[in-house]
Symmetry: C2
Subunit: 327 residues, 2 copies
Amino acid sequence: MPGVLLKLLLAGWLLWTATALAQEGFQVIPLGVAGGLEEDNLSAYLAGPLDRPVFVALDGGTLRVGVRRALAAGSVTLPTEEGGGEQIFLNKRIAAYLISHAHLDHVAGLVINATDDTPKPILATAGVWADLQNHLFNWRIWPNFADEGPPPRLAKYHQQILTPGQVISIADTGMTVEAWPLSHSHGYASTAFLLNYQGHYLLYCGDSGPDVVEKEGRLAALWQRIAPLIRENRLRGILIESAYPSDRPDHLLFGHLTPRHLLAELAVLGREVSLQGVQVIITHVKPGSDGLVAMQNRILAELQEGNSFGVNFHMARQGERLILAHQ
Amino acid sequence: MPGVLLKLLLAGWLLWTATALAQEGFQVIPLGVAGGLEEDNLSAYLAGPLDRPVFVALDGGTLRVGVRRALAAGSVTLPTEEGGGEQIFLNKRIAAYLISHAHLDHVAGLVINATDDTPKPILATAGVWADLQNHLFNWRIWPNFADEGPPPRLAKYHQQILTPGQVISIADTGMTVEAWPLSHSHGYASTAFLLNYQGHYLLYCGDSGPDVVEKEGRLAALWQRIAPLIRENRLRGILIESAYPSDRPDHLLFGHLTPRHLLAELAVLGREVSLQGVQVIITHVKPGSDGLVAMQNRILAELQEGNSFGVNFHMARQGERLILAHQ
């Protein structure tokens, strides 16, 4: 009997360990993936630990409709203790918003849904927060739901300022974030967010042009930051845009990447560290005249064709669930 | 033989006349009807003459997704001379935007879709245009697609300023518009648009609180303007909001109407003129915890219950086609 008990305990421990190992890392739920136009599918990505039912929203272009589609797909579930639909999920499961820049396709859903949201922080650089405060939460375009800016301050959203390179705790998530600046055409600043959960990292890049066009070296600096994380097998994934196909001329990029430019940027990173097996999730494809999916397929094919790095490219699709775990 | 020819010609003329009579008035296609939250269903209404394939957009909360759903419902058709989907419709069939106020749920789709739109005017009062220009088309939240404001001016949208009470032609539509001010909480101005097409009138009201709460008498003044049009049987319909149900307390209206308040406002109008048979389209219902449709049904029932005027209440539904014609 003691022998059987021991075996059962051992089997249970092994099972627990295997489960725990399988759950080291992040889950990502794209709530909106289009690079503009589609009002029901604009940039927003839930990211959270695999072992805790909590998320941050990386940008907030489309929230409510995105959650509805993720629920319909079974990618997320409602808190069991409460009824209601996507509103309960938005209120209970999103602990904070991280906003890469204030272009409307990245914040419209956040602003629109503020009326029925619960109190939480919005994390952004000072420049991005200035745009949100001055132009959106200003009592002209929307009531001031922030705790700064023009009175009355409804103070639903706490203004949390990110200083590039500094590690900040995201309350109630177990995660930290580091902001890194990106260039989004003519000196307009966007942001990359490097999330850390118990030593696992996830990189989300807001809109970004290529260094060769933007000439500020932002991606090169970011690659220097993450190269050691890849070397140590701590980076679980990169979300980065490719808004246009490779034949888009440089003077019409408007601060965006193409497969050609993204592959060139990855080559810069690849000179520091092997990219074999690195997960690269493609975001922010601008729908073409044949629609979003046709353009996504074209851009993914262009990336695969130039994939000499052994990177795992994946095209983000609205409402799916991505497991970005320890390999 | 001349007798037969004459009869054929006469029959043809009668048929033509009947058709022409049946087509006097407007068609309205709601592109988005929810009073907030639903990123794919925000305030926007196409309105145009029944006998010409051209529209103005009354507010622009959700454009592209709304047109997609109207196309799917068969409520509108694509220009036959061109391929492509909703983008072609947006480009070719919408001649102008009329914006009642700059709250994001009334303009998000317009801003988002500006990148792929064709040149056209945006008609709004000076105050509303100031908000659009300073806070949205300002190179911080979105590129400046207007022909005023911070350079470079992309000049896709012509800034056309409406002075309350003045009749302005809307180019390429055969319609004119008069703007009338509305009160939308604490002195925030919204706008009603009175369209005229060959002597047929259509009234669209942006967000509005009741006079008894707002205390600026805006609805009373508007009723004075339209009472003679109803008396002369020239008013084909009224689009007006009822954001909340009747039990919403006055201090939580945030500049909106309820069935109780709307019925009281219609009673004011009804003292001037019989409202028997007047078409009243209800807009901007805020989704409740049971969703949008449940709240729409509740609000419509509350309106019907108090309908002592013989008004024809209709709840606007996304993507449908409404014929508002000479009775």
